[in-house]
């Protein structure tokens, strides 16, 4: 699909989300709900008195939150689109220069950084940057510039992993 058309479609999905529910898209919030429900399942008292997690332990279960349902939709939507385009295949995608083991290490390290950063920045590229820019919020633009700026700055040091 032509990227511009995909961009317009994504914009319309974002608009539909605003019109229907008054809030934009998000992703890292769902991962946090997974973590919160995991921690409260394994060590309930620890979750109760942990400064950060208890904020998300209000009455109903953390898994019954807006973002978790949205991410469930994302996974199924992605699967359908992959199936339709014939891209369903279990594999590790990596540049020929690195081994898949190294790629997996990098991916999990990147995930760790992104998870940590998304909590600190109150949202990831879709939650804070994309939604923030659509509503013209300053936080959106600052987060977007910080994410893309740092990525561009560090690109040189990690070029072997990609090119």
């Amino acid at each position: 699909m032509d990227p511009y058309i995909a961009g317009v479609l994504l914009g319309l999905v974002l608009l539909a989300s605003f019109y229907l529910t008054g809030r934009g898209l998000g992703a890292s919030g769902a991962t946090r709900s997974i973590v919160v429900s995991g921690v409260s399942a394994i060590a309930p008292n620890h979750a109760e008195n942990s400064e950060y997690f208890k904020k998300y332990l209000h009455d109903e279960s953390p898994m019954k939150s807006w973002l978790v349902l949205e991410i469930a939709g994302v996974i199924i939507g992605g699967f359908l689109s992959g199936a339709w385009a014939g891209r369903l295949k279990l594999k590790v995608e990596h540049s020929p220069k690195i081994t898949s083991r190294r790629r997996i290490m990098l991916a999990s390290a990147g995930g760790l950084l992104f998870g940590f950063g998304s909590q600190l920045g109150r949202g990831c590229t879709s939650g804070a940057a994309l939604t923030g820019m659509a509503t013209l919020s300053l936080a959106g633009f600052v987060t977007m510039l910080a994410i893309f700026g740092t990525a561009f700055a560090l690109a040189y040091f990690f070029r072997k992993n990609w090119i």
């Binding site: 999905v13 008054g22 349902l69 820019m133 659509a134 013209l136 919020s137």
Partner: protein
């Protein structure tokens, strides 16, 4: 008259149904745009494939123009729409850490779920990593609380800060985006990577 859920007191279950349907669209479009491949995502930083830039900015601009026109026609009430709160230090530091995570991991949370859905094992590891990252943040939160909460500016809009109308700022952003698209396409020709683009 939007937004529907808050204005018409729609029940939570229907709100969650909306979330699922919106998620379906979100996931489908992300995958169709090719965001399920980390090498395509990283292409933007190395110039060989700037799909991310095109999709991301076109989506943001479409959403922005949509909100402006709907508001003008009285079909949506912008006082109720969620606008991200702006905490200066945590937005910047958080963004920097996320930027590093982006260039190292190759995904962002939304795209990692999409990629994991079509079988990318590295994306699954990315999700596992982000779970660990969030857990880590939760554990050392008391140390970071001061940074997390410092200089709160409220849900401030960039057009208010610059003192111009929303539509006016949208026009400026569109012009800047068009220039970036043009430069991006030049870069794509210059840093052409035949070997990668046929793989993705």
């Amino acid at each position: 008259m939007g937004p529907i859920v808050p204005l018409f007191n729609v029940s939570n279950e229907i709100n969650l149904l909306f979330a699922f349907i919106i998620g379906l669209g979100f996931g489908f479009v992300l995958e169709q745009a090719g965001f399920s491949s980390s090498r395509k995502l990283a292409g933007m930083f190395y110039g060989y494939d700037i799909t991310v830039l095109k999709v991301f900015f076109t989506a943001a601009i479409t959403g922005m123009l949509g909100l402006i026109f709907l508001n003008f026609m009285g079909l949506i009430d912008l006082d109720i729409i969620y606008i991200n709160e702006y905490y200066i230090t945590s937005s910047i530091i958080g963004g920097i850490i996320m930027g590093a995570g982006f260039i190292i991991g190759g995904f962002c949370p939304g795209t990692s779920f999409t990629a994991a859905a079509i079988g990318k094992i590295d994306a699954m590891w990315f999700v596992a990593g982000s779970i660990a990252g969030i857990f880590l943040f939760g554990e050392i939160y008391p140390l970071l609380e001061s940074i997390y909460m410092s200089n709160y500016e409220g849900a401030v809009k960039i057009s208010n800060i610059l003192g111009i109308r929303d539509g006016y700022f949208a026009l400026l952003l569109i012009i800047v985006a068009s220039i970036m698209f043009w430069i991006g396409e030049l870069a794509e020709k210059k840093f052409k990577r035949e070997d990668i683009s046929k793989e993705i």
